[in-house]
Structures are given as C-alpha cells and as structure tokens.
Symmetry: C2
Subunit: 361 residues, 2 copies
C-alpha cells in the first residue's frame, strides 16, 4: 500500500510503498477512506514534539473494516468505523467509571510482539500513536475504533476522531454546560469551534468566541457564537465581564498557552469553571490567584473531551446528520494523499479550519 512516510523532521514526507501486517487476535485491518490533518501531526513533522522516526503520521481517520482478528466480536468486514486516539482497556478504574479517555493501560496498544505493524523495504516504521492514518490501510486494536452508521460520509466522520470530539466533549462532558448559561471559548481553531458547537447543542444562552482573526470569529458565529471578541482589541477579560455582568459560568481554553489559560480563570463569575483543552507545554505552570478560589471558581483539564468513545461518537454522527454538528463548515479542503506536504504548508499559515485527505476507492 501507499503511505506518507516521515523519515526526518522538517523534511517533506515521501509517498512510499509500505507493508502492513496481518491482524492479531484483537486487531482490525481497515481500508482508510479519509484522514484529517491536525496540528499535532504538524508538531511532529516540524520536530516540536519528540517521536521516533521513521513514522507514518495521521491520527484522525475513518474507513471500512477489511479484515478482523480471530477474537474480534465488535465489528465485521464492511463495517464503517472512526478511529480513536485512545485505546481503552475496558477494565481499569477509569474505563469502568465511564472515563475511558483517562485510561492509561497500554496492553491493547502494543499489537503483535514479534512483527512491526508497518515496515518498508528499508526496515521498520513506527506506528504513530497506534494509528498512522496517512496510509491506505490501518492496522489497529479493536479498542481503537468506533462503529458508525453507513449513511455517514466518511470524509466528514474522520474529523470526529480527534478535534471535534475533543472540543465538543469538553463542553458537554467535561464542563457539562447547562442550558441558559454563559460560555466563553478562547481560540477558534477546529477544537474551539467544536467547543462552541457543543455549547450551542447543550443550550448555552450566550457563547462568546475569542480569537485574533476576524475570519475565524465570523466562522465561530456559524457554529453558534452569539458574541465575538477580537483579542487584538484589548483586555479580553474585561470585555467578557462587561458582556456578562461579572463573568461567565464556563470558559474554555483551546490554544494551549499560559496567558489564555490564566485569562480563562479570570473571566469566570463566582462558581464558574475554566476547562483547559489546549496542550500546555511541558514545564509551563498556570498561575491562579489564590484568593479568587474563595469565589468557588474551578480549573480543570479535559482529555479528549472526557468521551466514552463507543457511546459518544455515534451520537456526534447523529448530530451531523441532523445538521446540528457543523462538520461541513469545519472541513475546509479535501485533498489527495500526494498533496500532503502542500497541505502541511497551508496549515503552517494557520488560516484554514480543517483539511481532509480523501483516499482513492
């Protein structure tokens, strides 16, 4: 099969012939139909996060089951699936209490011990976070996929696997936004827009979108934002307080920066909760002013939107088909696998919402 191989950070990926293994007892072979291009892939390609090379990037995909391992009961060939970032074990404290996005057991992630899942004639290729979606086939654990209805377009379904689930879930699961409440979302990329979408579906009364790009703020309105603030226009916290008469019930940080995370805490009303979705860099501390805790403010992190994958992803699919989840607005471009390096260049410029690779059938 063909796959985009990254052999060296900061160098273009090459489309190569790659060998994929056969499914072990609990594994599933999937024909990739579509894969989203996410900032996390870019961070690896640009050498900002460490990951062993060579690898095949991509972690946001959807496809059709081709072959299943001997012990797989969840899917059969022909089933449509979305891939997940997390391989839940199904029997730890987190999984058993409905928090599988917190599962840290890695027993299902390893795959067969003797044979690499991916290789080329130059040797082993490291599978990227148990997925490697920039390839015509995927070999993954059965705990890595969610089965969805077949009338769902897979080139839209793929983005549910990472950014959409993360942002939407942060609003409806981690923060549990209440109908009628006030919400602020800082950062209107794919994750922030999905958080706005989630807050709107959950019935928020007022949703304030905050970004530095007017184009993203305009897009935010289509996702459900009732108010927008351009962060270039001055003190965001003061503006949020003014708009809401003292602060919001829920704030969301969807960038991953110290300053915006701290702003999210400061813009809360008494009893409010700031949910940090963005990946704060290792070594960065978020500082919160101690006495403000007396107002019963909270700060919490969200991991993959606190989702229960097999329960929640089919619901997101239903929301899309009912025109409540705005994936058509989110997916800005559809490209071919051999355009991947240009797509990464576009992402570096930061103006697009989401690009999706559509594989040839």
């Amino acid at each position: 099969m063909k796959a985009a191989v990254l052999r060296e950070a900061k160098k273009p990926m090459q489309i190569e012939d790659v060998k994929i293994s056969k499914p072990g007892p609990h594994e599933v072979l999937i024909r990739t139909v579509a894969a989203g291009i996410c900032h996390s892939d870019l961070h690896i390609a640009d050498g900002l996060f460490p990951f062993p090379l060579p690898t095949v990037l991509g972690h946001e995909s959807a496809g059709i089951v081709e072959q299943v391992g001997s012990d797989v009961r969840y899917v059969v060939p022909g089933d449509h699936v979305i891939t997940c970032l997390s391989v839940f074990c199904g029997h730890c404290e987190h999984c058993l209490t409905g928090h599988m996005s917190r599962c840290m057991t890695d027993e299902w992630a390893r795959g067969p011990k003797d044979e690499p899942r991916l290789s080329s004639d130059k040797g082993r290729l490291h599978q990227f976070i148990n997925l490697s979606s920039y390839a015509e086939m995927l070999l993954v654990s059965e705990h890595n996929i969610v089965k969805i209805r077949k009338d769902m377009p897979l080139d839209k379904a793929c983005v549910i696997g990472c950014g959409v689930m993360t942002g939407f879930g942060a609003a409806i699961h981690t923060a549990k936004v209440e109908p009628g409440s006030t919400v602020a979302v800082v950062g209107c990329g794919g994750i922030g827009l999905s958080a706005i979408n989630g807050a709107a579906v959950a019935g928020a009364g007022r949703i304030i979108a905050i970004d530095m790009l007017g184009s993203k703020l305009n897009l935010a309105k289509e996702f459900g934002a009732t108010d927008v603030i351009n962060a270039k226009d001055g003190d965001v916290v003061a503006k949020v307080r003014e708009l809401t008469g003292g602060g919001v019930h829920y704030s969301f940080e969807a960038i991953g920066m110290k300053k915006t995370a701290e702003d999210c805490f400061s813009m809360l009303r008494a009893g409010g909760v700031a949910t940090i979705i963005g990946m704060i860099p290792i070594g960065t501390n978020i500082e919160i002013h101690g006495p403000e805790l007396l107002q019963e403010k909270k700060m919490q992190g969200s991991m993959m939107g606190s989702n229960r994958f097999r329960v929640d992803m089919p619901r997101l699919v239903d929301f899309y088909l009912a025109d409540r989840l705005k994936l058509d607005l989110l997916v800005s471009h559809t490209i071919k696998l051999n355009q991947i390096n240009e797509a990464f260049d576009t992402l570096r410029k930061g103006e697009v919402a989401r690009q999706v690779i559509k594989f040839d059938a």
Copy 2:
C-alpha cells in the same frame, strides 16, 4: 451589656459596657450563650487583616432569640440559633441555585441606616462581619441565623457556624466525596479535622491526614483518618502516591499556603479534584503544571463549605447528637469572656483545636 472591645491591633481587648441597638424590621436580637475563638479573629487582633477599629470580634456563636423585628417570621423569642458568617439575600442567582455561601448581595448586612448596631460612651463600635460574638448580646439580620433543635448544647453548636461547616461542607458539598474513594487532608486544625469528619461521614474508603504535629495527627485518627503522614518526614506527595497507588481522588488544603495548595494538586490521581479551603493570601498565585491538566485533574475553591445554611446546619446538629460529628473532640477548652486575651495567647501558640467562651446565663 458586656463585650470585649478591640480598640487597637496588637493590644489586649478590654471588657467594656457596650450599648446594642433595637432590632430593625428584619433583625433579631440574640442572647449569646457561647462563642468560638477562631484564627480569623486572631488575624484581626494581630493586625494581619485590615478591619476598622474599634470593633468587637467574634463570628462563631450560638444563642437564644431575645427579640425579633416587626417583619421577622423565621424565629420567635426563645428559639435556639447558630449564627452564620454569610448574610444570604435569598434572591440572587447564587442563592436561588443553592449556593448561598457565594451570595455577594449585602442588602441584609447593613442594618438600620441611622444608628450603629453597637456603641459605647466613647462612640460607635464597628460590628465585625455583621456579628460581633464576643458580647453578651448579638443584633443580626434574620438571614444571618439558623434555627436548631433545643436539645443541642449551644456551647458545642457555636463552632458549627464557621470552621466545622467550612471543613465538613468542603468534603460533602464542594468536593462531594464518594463512598469508597481516597482522600487526603493537608492541615489538621479545626477545619482540616472537620473535613476529615465530613469525608468519613460520606463513606470515604481511605482518609490520609497530613500535618507537622504528631498530636494533631493522633486527633485526626479520632475524626476518621485511616492513615497519617507527618510532613516533617519528607516528601508528602510521594508518600500519598505510594499509599494510594498513584494518588488520591480528593485532596483538601486546610492551611492557606501556596506550597500545600500546589501539593494538593500534585497528589491527585487522574480525574482527581483538589479543594482549597484555606485562605490563600492576597497576591499569592497557585501554580499548577499545565500538562497535568490532561489527566483531567481539577482545582477548586470552597467558600464556607458550599453550605446551604438553613438546610445543612440542622443536619450537622443531628450528626453531633448521633455521635457522628466529633464536636466534643474539637472543643478543647471552655473559658469565660474575661479570659479572652489569655485564650488568644493560647491560640497564638497553635496547639489547641478550639476554645469556646461560655457566657453567664
């Protein structure tokens, strides 16, 4: 009536003859039966927190209703009451959603406009946070008191009004400790011991008490601690992780220090919640390591234990009378009003749990 008047910080209080006003329409005159001596009073007496002087300190009291204003319907003369720190308004967003400890409306706190509630022949005395308990009589808003059953000893009931409610409520209301879960409490003064007591009543599986004084750790066991750690013996966070196989579900900070608040976050397992009860000084920031938020850890503040005063205080009284709330262990000394300066000296040394002034009948 007699009252202990503080005319100058860092100087002894004087027992003086003090004039108390008549109840306005929504006010209640109470004969003070008992009043606890709390660190917050000490902080004012020592000039650490600003408060206008002269004043009569004391904010943790219980007594018997003597006279009620024309519009008061909640109590009649002869009723037994505990005083609250907070004057809830009853009609703001916080009050109407069961969070009256967050109420910031002050309309009930002001009292009659023309006349000071307290005065002496030298002029006006400032009432201390709408209470001033170190006096034979109290004149307060009807939203400042909770009626309790008459078989409850008032010299035990008084401490429910501040420290007990704050610590116990942080465990059962703010954090909502689950049966079988693991808990750590940092700081075993009156508030920390009450948090331990609350966690025990809520059915926690394991409660780890942490302090630097062996005597307090021994006392903590009587309140329900299953394990104790003396913070002098090294890395508290590492010890908590070792005892619990990776961290606790709930941690409580009951001192008010940056380091211990940060420790409370670090000692959480994935998905755990740190509740800060202690008063962190103005200007002090709590730093939390950003990437740990990805484990869905939370930090939150608790204000007066998130209590709904009129609902929760009678429940605490019932817990005491059922021997589940350990007030007898908490109240270490009973003194007379004229011993108040010695009692403050004892508190400065820090070894006692709670001293209570019992007024002459």
